[in-house]
């Protein structure tokens, strides 16, 4: 395997993939949503989240310990960024990573590229490219949130930057299994739209099965751990042991999904 070729593919995909149709499908809703959130999240709301009243209200949504951790112990705006990023990770991961291979398989483009590099290099580089797109865009929004926290809310810069680093590291790990899941779907499909529909339908179907299983068959709760979203709550960091376990589980999800995706892509006719 050549890391040089992986680097060439990664650069090319980031340079051109982000601004073509498949990149814009992710970037436009992503940027619009965050613009709306940051724009409407004025100074008062941010400061209010850190007050006693704010924590009491947030305790209705989260347990009190969690509300305290997120909005008192950490900069509230960055905590909101963290929460929303985790919550929206499945949707935005799918939008950013739905067309890793599908349209290029359908158009035959991979027939041209496939003889110039090894399949594993192409596979890894496209996954890294989708992950990089997600991380760069989240890092940009996170930087804005940190800037607002520092200059408007008076949060010490070191604290804001350290917390942002922790957030980005955590969401990078959390995005990975979703991106790899979409690599699997994209390797199966022959068009971008088919990959997107298949990916979303597959994910929603799994959620429905888990929900119905919990409802109808007591004792099947463990099935929820098929999806990485089962550990999402623990990633917020309330309980150190569970947080470490949750973070450690994410590479396992990525490996398991990645193995399935590679098994399909390795033998896929281009």
């Amino acid at each position: 395997m050549s890391w040089r070729r992986i680097g060439v593919i990664l650069r090319f995909e980031l340079r051109y993939g982000a601004l073509d149709a498949k990149g814009l499908v992710f970037l436009i809703p992503f940027l619009l949503l965050w613009y709306f959130i940051i724009h409407s999240f004025d100074r008062d709301v941010s400061a209010w989240l850190g007050t006693r009243e704010g924590v009491i209200v947030m305790s209705m949504l989260f347990d009190p310990g969690m509300a305290n951790l997120l909005f008192v112990d950490h900069p509230p705006l960055l905590s909101v960024f963290f929460l929303l990023s985790l919550s929206m990770a499945p949707v935005f991961s799918m939008l950013a990573a739905y067309d890793q291979f599908a349209s290029d398989i359908g158009s035959g483009y991979l027939r041209l590229v496939g003889v110039r590099c090894r399949r594993l290099e192409l596979f890894l580089a496209r996954i890294f490219a989708a992950l990089c797109l997600l991380l760069i865009s989240h890092a940009a929004i996170g930087a804005v949130a940190a800037w607002v926290s520092i200059y408007q809310d008076g949060v010490p810069a070191v604290e804001a930057v350290a917390y942002l680093g922790q957030i980005l590291l955590t969401i990078a790990l959390y995005f990975s299994p979703f991106v790899v899941y979409m690599a699997l779907v994209s390797a199966l499909a022959r068009s971008a739209i088919a990959a997107l529909v298949l990916g979303m339908a597959g994910y929603l179907m799994l959620l429905a099965i888990i929900w119905l299983g919990n409802l109808l068959l007591p004792g099947t709760g463990y099935f929820q751990f098929v999806l990485p979203s089962a550990v999402k709550y623990h990633l917020l960091g309330l309980d150190t042991i569970n947080s470490i376990a949750a973070i450690a589980s994410l590479p396992l999800y990525t490996t398991a999904y990645g193995w399935a995706a590679w098994a399909v892509f390795r033998i896929r006719n281009f």
Partner: protein
Amino acid sequence: MTAVRVQELAKRFRSVTALDGVSFTVDSGGPVALVGKNGAGKTTLLSVIAGILRPSSGSVEILDLPHTHPDLVGRVGVLMQDASFRSGIGGLEQIMYLAELGGMDRRLARSSSMQLLNELGDDGFLHLRPGVMSYGQRKRLGIAQALIGDPALVLLDEPTAGLDPIAAHAVRQLIRRRCTDAVFMISSHNLYEVQDICKRILVIDHGRVINDVDIATMARDGNRLNVTLNKSAEPGLVSVLSRIGEITDVRHDPDAPDRLYIDVATADMDRLQVEIQTLLNSNGYSVTNLARGKTLADGVLELVRNSERP
């Protein structure tokens, strides 16, 4: 070193058998043509050799290595008819990208790509996106990507189909120049082009290689005279010529009424040739061109027809 060795290769798509026990070897020594009817299996064969499709059974070796060996990455260039470029990215950038994958730095990738596109006759479309290029421009871009990085084996599927005569000529010239450094396998329906640039022909039918012949030998084989007259042949001329006992068959070319194909059975072709020319002259015709041997098109048609007989 053997450039390509294919052994008992089969490829099935569910119930359809596209390749059925194909075996052959290709050494250096001039371009090899794959010819056959639509659906014969030519494109599938090229795709399997390139590693784009996985064989159902059998083996393919390129340069004495299994065709999926990592050392072969970048040593095979491919032009597939049904492969297209990314529509939104400039043509030059896409060729440069493939050149960089082959190990060139960006500057060398740029100069090599531009030189190659120049050799193909026109670089005015370099920066256009494939989405707005003409068919011919996309085709030339496809040929450029197949040749960038000087691959040792080049597989071209219909390289000049859809090109204007000048562009097609430029492509053929480029192949001629490069075929000393690389082995070319060319799938084509254009038998005149095949005759022009290839040395050997593999005739494919129903997923099998039904014949593997040297083109020069095929052209020499068979007692045939291809005659071009100064005017269209009248219907009675065929019966006039048939009176010569050594002539076994006379046919018109339906697309060229001034052309006759005369099959003969003789050990003295020179004498018979003079006799035929004399007879034609006495009937008011003059011969503007006379060539011995079958045309490649005739030879290929005969091979395919013979394979279909029970």
